[in-house]
């Protein structure tokens, strides 16, 4: 069967396997990690849209993550809104704030843009830390309500896994729609050659802002999902270190495609668990990974794998006859 149908079959099989996962694996800690991986996949896919597709450096993911988490937690605890709506509001607010901060920021590039995004993340964290009674300050917010849909409460990790799985599938479908569309192509032309893009009528700044706006929703939704999974949030979770971790996942897995952020999320999360006993050395290792990826695998694991696959099926160079043939398809 052809490639497209083969991919579809693989996806269906994968989703089926994932559906069976909580029934087979009953260790709640492993389920927790798996669910977190799903949340990271959502956040990182949003990050990928900004970094991988529109070519902008961003270190403010933790900020979106925090906005989504706190917004959803607070709305669910202080208003009567159903949790699912609170989550969506969390995503929307993060998206909106992302757009606002992006507007003056996208004229900057590289280090300078990185600084602004770091500032964004840090300011959000500091606001949470100094938010007094509203945000619980350093103590955070405990007893965040569980998600309930149609009377069914997702109060175990196993049940919540399905929620996150569903969210991942939806958000990835949206991402694929976007990156294959004219806006997705517009992002990539801004990334590859912004001057040429401008010459072809693209509003480069507006597109860059759009990328951040979309990332905001993904990050915020991820944060909201996190809040109602763990039931407790505090500023300690939403640090620059977390942003760097997210970026590392996308860099390692590969940016600018569907599978890279997924692979990166899985690998780094597993690495994180495995390397726990090493303590401080862990972050040094992530630093080394970042440098190593930039030096040896700038397109990440997925990039390296795809290049190998392409090399196997390399096309033959055009013959002179073909070069002179301007009549039709060869």
């Amino acid at each position: 069967m052809d490639t497209k149908n083969r991919t579809r079959l693989f996806m269906v099989a994968l989703i089926a396997a994932l559906c069976a996962f909580p029934m087979v694996v009953t260790n709640s800690y492993i389920l927790l990690i798996a669910t977190l991986i799903g949340i990271y996949i959502i956040v990182n896919s949003g990050l990928d849209i900004v970094y991988g597709y529109s070519g902008q450096i961003t270190l403010g993911q933790a900020g979106f993550y925090a906005i989504g988490a706190y917004t959803s937690a607070l709305l669910s605890m202080h208003t009567g809104l159903p949790v699912i709506l609170c989550m969506i509001c969390g995503g929307l607010l993060a998206s909106f704030l992302g757009m606002l901060i992006a507007i003056p920021s996208v004229k900057l590039v590289h280090h300078f843009l990185a600084m602004v995004t770091i500032g964004f993340g840090e300011i959000v964290r500091l606001l949470a830390l100094n938010g007094g009674e509203l945000t619980g300050a350093a103590d955070g917010i405990p007893f965040i309500p569980k998600l309930s849909l149609f009377g069914f409460t997702f109060d175990t990790t196993g049940r919540y896994f399905y929620v996150v799985l569903g969210a991942v599938i939806i958000m990835l479908i949206l991402k694929q729609n976007l990156v294959r569309s004219r806006i997705g192509r517009a992002f990539r032309s801004v990334r590859d050659n912004a001057d040429a893009a401008a010459a072809f009528g693209l509003n480069v700044r507006r597109l860059k802002v759009t990328a951040f706006t979309v990332e905001g929703f993904y990050g915020g939704l991820g944060g909201a999902l996190y809040a109602h999974l763990v039931g407790f949030i505090s500023p300690e979770t939403f640090t620059l270190q977390q942003s760097v971790l997210f970026l590392t996942m996308v860099l390692l897995g590969g940016s600018g495609n569907l599978w890279g952020p997924i692979i990166g999320s899985v690998l780094i999360s597993i690495m994180f668990e495995v390397l726990q006993p090493l303590g401080q050395a862990q972050m040094a290792i992530y630093g080394a990974i970042i440098m190593g990826v930039m030096l040896f695998m700038p397109h990440g694991i997925w990039g390296a794998v795809s290049t190998q696959a392409a090399r196997v099926g390399r096309r033959a160079p055009m013959t002179e006859a073909e070069a002179l043939d301007t009549k039709g398809r060869s």
Binding site: V109, M115, G119, Y286, I290
Partner: protein, 292 residues
Amino acid sequence: MQFFIQLAAGGLMVGAIYALVGMGYSLIYRASGLLTFAQGEYFMLGAFGIYTFFVLFDLPYPIAVIAVLLTMVGVGFASEKLLIGPLLRRGAGPIHIVIATIGLSIFLLNTAMMIWGSQGFHVPSTLGDMPVRIADVYLVPQNMAIVVIMFALMIALHIFMNKSRLGTTLRAAAQDKMAAAALGINVSLAVGLTWGIAVGLAGAAGLLIAPIYGVSAHMGLLVGLKGFAAAVIGGYGSIYGAVVGGLLVGLVETFTSGYIDSTMKDVIVFAFLLAVLFFKPTGLLANDMLED
């Protein structure tokens, strides 16, 4: 009034530190058109350097200083040769370089924690810890020395870059690699040396500040940020701009501390940086390209 002068003096002295680090940022940008995230960590390493050589190994102070400076220049050179240079040769874009230096700074920070631990250390001052009173203002000798050294280094750097043969060589290599190579200049060596000097500046700042504020693994983060702010505010790429920017940042910080609240000082400095980035990214002084 006396309070004002005291604060101003303090601001200039702390600003001198930011100026030194900022000069390094601008120098690297001048030399290679590149941006780096790691200056703060080099600053921290300079401080740990003086702690290691002066306190742990008990070397005489001048020897320890020379050892630290040579080490830092070597580290800068190595950074360029092992990381930046190879990246550029593989066709890495600016964004990859920035990310790589982010990785480098994380690596250096955490490695330092592994080597020396995460507590703070003390380095005694060779000039004495007692403040000296000059015209109604109390100044710590070490602080004054820093300002003097900073200006001296700024002038020395200017003379070196513009008047000496080696300095002119470095500038030539920075402006046009191919032309420089055609003239027989060892471009690779020149770029490496420039990075060495820039890192050396940060390291010098670290070793100078160590007796005043102590040494700890995280000391580089804020200083790196403020040094970057200094470079941006003064006009990224300008050595004099970095000095002006550094002093300005120092003044903003101490006046915020003195008149508003010391917990706000970092936020205010950061807000200042963001304001400059948003409204006048080319800096308050010079003209340079850092936008799209």
